[in-house]
Symmetry: D2
Subunit: 375 residues, 4 copies
């Protein structure tokens, strides 16, 4: 099913970017979870356009309405439906684009797939759809925090060729928010990124870069050994975000330049009073054979430069004639700052799902004396 | 469900690396597809250990048996079950490893997840499970070839720091097979790769690298705009392969260093007599907004260096005591040559699934006069 | 997933009976289907309370709002989200019931499952949830009509011991609507049913009965031979409707009193000019081995007497103390008239889903010369 | 997916009745469950043909082989694949039937769906496929017994018009096995049934009837309020068995003749020392609003008379010509005795699945003080 994500903590999103509303139905959230609509709104506000000069000026309050699944401040265990009305929709900005296939946009492929499309904005392919994921992710985060003590932090790690220095083992969400509106916790790098984005925007152009996201305090045992490897579900989650072109877990592509003896993560026994094994290095990125090993789960996500640019471009219209086009409208010169809550939301959704799935593996009490003793 | 992949063309694999058998059930393959068991066996032979000095010497004939779903050389539309018996299983090679958590292997995480594990080899996390995918992929390839004319070609693009020069728009499967047992179609690079792997193997160490895989002649319209983006399902498919740590589509991470005006793929009208739009560049990697645009679909997959090495390593055993271990057994100093058919199989499975899914989108004949005319 | 139904034409419903709204997301509806909101509203009006003296007087306009998936009177192929606001919610009628487990209601089991419940009305277990199915069913019906020419007609066949005489091969939807507000097309029986229900209502009691539903012009080949037999999916669909306790297809329980020679449906060759095989009798109910055979699909559904009655009953409260209770509020003395559009909707949903699923079976053109010739 | 059943405890079956093998992959069975292949074989032996003169004489040892998922007498948490080779396959009994559409069989509908079929026996529609369910059901039963103390007992309740007197609250599996090879625990009725079946068989004819199945000691809270109601999943499970034409839970069709005041199940407080609510009557059949209430779950299943009869019948062949046919081969004059383990297996599968699903609902500890207190 194209519009559903997750097995146990399952979300289904709906809504075109310029239709009446965008929303999500969350099915499988456990009952009795305390939940305040303000917690969801806070995450939506982080994703909202118009927050700074570095992102789209589209005017959207993005006020969430809860349609079902909550009672008296707690989840009921039934589907939680959330909705945000589109306000600044169907503006004249799209009048000149209605039959133009914008370069590197989904206009042409949408037409190819469906034989019909809403000519206002990106329809389902628009980044506006991601607000539904952010709303659902806020609930997943609440669950992870309450039942598992897991925390998830994302940040802008690189804009074009400006890289940040960030320690994934200690960086906090408030570090990320406090440093700059870029959501890069390395203040010096953030400053340079701001300058770069301002310059690119003034030229009517755009830039991309890389986000990192870490999950800490993840118990060993989440994930699965074959198709639903934790890294596989994270990769799908991240590549399902608009504009993402690449994904790494742990050492990623850089690790492929090492030898096995350099790359392997040596296990070390638990410290006194701490029952948990750890590894000396974390090239594995917290996942071995598809299953969490208790170390930090660290992923890197590549975002291409925004396809919507103000410069004149050559393309083709729906009559297959060559045309030139200049994209007006309300677009981000760099999507990375607003992508941070989206990447975090997707990671929270994957972890909440796998955490719930793992519960059914624990039901037979006791362990066979030892699987090894009896050989 | 952890052991199933796909929505319409759906496979479920089973089998531990040292249990009685490994196999797969394919559900959703259309009826009346001509299919010869030799076509499946040919792909399995490409994945089989013992093919050259550069891969594992484990002795396995990997002879496939068809248990159901075929009659008189054609698919019945019912589940196709395939099975390969494990022959060279449970050897003494694992005697000294039975309670050791091998570094960067899944021994510890399997124990953490299930509270029990088969101490012989990697169980489900073993690369042996991938033979089931290769068998299923052979059937997906047959379907793609017959109903859609799609071809899928993979090759070793880089081993550690030795890169090949390959033209993805023209490289053929026979180019890949003919050049060397490394499965790198650039003969000069292949020679250097062979030397590198031989050297690393003699040191008891291992190396990784990058594979590329291209799908050509994919009709526009496959994929979906949200979670089941073609690149998202491909990313999941690739990250579900053992030892994979990264994924790129099209321009990938390199594209994040460009500006939008450099990165956007300009549309060009169809040539005379050819009704299909194309793009001047292919940074998109054949997918825009999650949906194929008719250009070549090109992905790059990062494989870490093999975790099994012959050098002595420090680690921890199941009593959480520090130990040293040396891995004997039958391992690959570099998994990339044998990974080519696996990566191809996963791409075939994703495309076959999405091709079938797309059929249900085509059922309402005619197009509303024009979605734009009526505005 | 508890709140989703269907594989290809998939619906996810949400909403508590006394929460802000009830709605549905339909995923998988093909694009380009002409669709008017009035067609959906018309079906909702048939299900709506307050239509006659024989059903609940709850005041609900049940005005549907389309949130996504439509553009310019056609489906986009994207999720169609529909919503109905609850108006007459959380009335004082439930004040005295808030901690009482009503007999044969879901109050106690909801509490047992979730450890929490919305004390107003039946929450998710309420028949109010079925409006979401009726809305979705209207779209499924539109698809079936347009692409397959299938028609689905349901009617009240029996109320308690008053049975109707109806010919399933010819009865029309307008017959059903025209005859009486009971939705029984046998006018004489309908009159007797009205009298019975009026009498039962005046006593503060309730009655049940049986509905029939027929699908005509269903092409041979829909369904599946094992778990997703057409009759299995229909049985699940019908038993998922509140108050349903039994299901039959074709000869049902009555057929178990026959011998095989009496029960078997003799095949007869096509009439001249008509290529389709038929059967002399239809004990199979249009389905053989889980797959449609082209004959009318006929099901019978048993509805228990409404659990909400005005008579004083003994029960237990949430402190597990014995109490007596009298249910006020707005309830149906007989649910069958309003259940007709619900049963029809569920049948439309099952058939639309299986019709779409069947499309992927048809993709390999040609038939192997003959599966029999080559033996 | 047509050949998969269940959400958490999920089975996928494969195999044609006269192909190489029939089998099943069970995905989602928790790890560490003690499991002996003999437990599975015992259930298969109950379903096996050739057990008595009242069932098919097809010669099949039905010896099960475990291909994966077990180690050292315990489940690994990985897919459990089981297989039974077909021995007595492709006999000459089908030579005269290869292009005949047997009345009330799936020959024609299989051809209509797939455009191809295995002419030997019923292919996937054959009752032989059910051995895979019985094998999987044995594992589900083991899980239910170990983690939940649930017991499931089925019996033949009626053959044509001969009904048994059985107390569902006390009948045991050994009662059922001990009484007669008919699997009817009412010995007097069983004797009459035997006579009837023998008489019918001697006439080359067949009979049907009704099975009952009860689940005892089911905790309150299993199931779901909407589509996946426990009774809905049970109905699907039962209607997916070959030859089943009807399903009832609790009072079923008989209950539709009662009034609400007669039908409602009065709650009674727990007895001293027993914390569990109960009901005075059990018209609900142990399920209210789709969720178990702790009472016995009781279902009744209607089996039509076997379609394979020895009498000459008129039908049509694949050239659409009228023909007469006499079915030789190895068929059951009455399927009910062999259907008992199948019905039990399906009930065990549904309950194991829902029991596992319920685990994810329990993860938030504590209950909001009281959902009612805060109003």
């Amino acid at each position: 099913m194209s519009n559903t994500f997750g097995e146990c903590f399952k979300i289904t999103t709906f809504g075109e970017s310029h239709g009446p509303a965008v929303g999500v139905v969350i099915d499988g959230c456990p009952p009795r979870l305390p939940l305040d609509v303000a917690e969801i709104q806070a995450e939506l506000n982080r994703r909202r356009p118009g927050q700074s000069e570095f992102v789209s000026p589209r005017q959207e309050a993005d006020q969430v309405e809860i349609l079902s699944g909550l009672f008296d401040g707690h989840t009921l265990g039934t589907p939680i439906a959330l909705m945000v009305r589109n306000a600044d929709a169907r503006s004249g900005d799209y009048a000149n684009l209605e039959n133009v296939y914008r370069p590197s946009h989904a206009d042409y492929t949408t037409e190819a797939k469906y034989g019909i499309r809403d000519p206002f904005g990106g329809g389902r392919a628009s980044a506006r759809e991601t607000l539904a994921r952010v709303a659902a992710g806020a609930i997943a985060r609440k669950l992870l925090d309450l039942v598992a003590g897991i925390e998830v932090v994302g940040w802008v790690d690189r804009v074009q060729n400006i890289s940040a220095q960030v320690d994934p083992t200690t960086v906090t969400r408030s570090d990320v928010e406090a440093a700059s509106s870029i959501r890069c916790p390395d203040k010096q790098a953030a400053l340079a990124m701001e300058k770069l984005i301002a310059s690119v925007r003034s030229q009517g152009d755009s830039v991309g870069g890389a986000l990192c996201c870490v999950a800490r305090n993840v118990e060993p045992g989440l994930g699965a050994p074959v198709f639903d490897k934790l890294e596989a579900d994270l990769a799908k989650a991240m590549l399902s975000i608009p504009a993402v072109k690449g994904f790494e877990i742990g050492s990623g592509f850089a690790g492929t330049y090492l030898t096995g003896s350099q790359h392997n993560d040596e296990f070390v026994p638990p410290e006194a009073g701490d029952g948990r094994l750890s590894t000396l290095t974390n090239n594995s990125g917290g996942v071995q054979g598809g299953i969490s090993n208790g170390e930090d789960i660290l992923v890197t996500v590549a975002f291409k430069p925004t396809a919507s640019i103000g410069l004149e471009q050559r393309t083709v219209n729906s009559d297959l004639e060559p045309v030139t086009t200049t994209i007006r409208g309300r677009h981000d010169p760099c999507v990375l700052p607003r992508a941070v809550p989206i990447v975090e939301a997707m990671m929270c959704l994957v972890l909440a799902d796998h955490w719930l799935r793992q519960q059914t593996m624990k039901v037979v009490s006791g362990t066979p004396s030892s699987s090894f003793d009896s050989l």
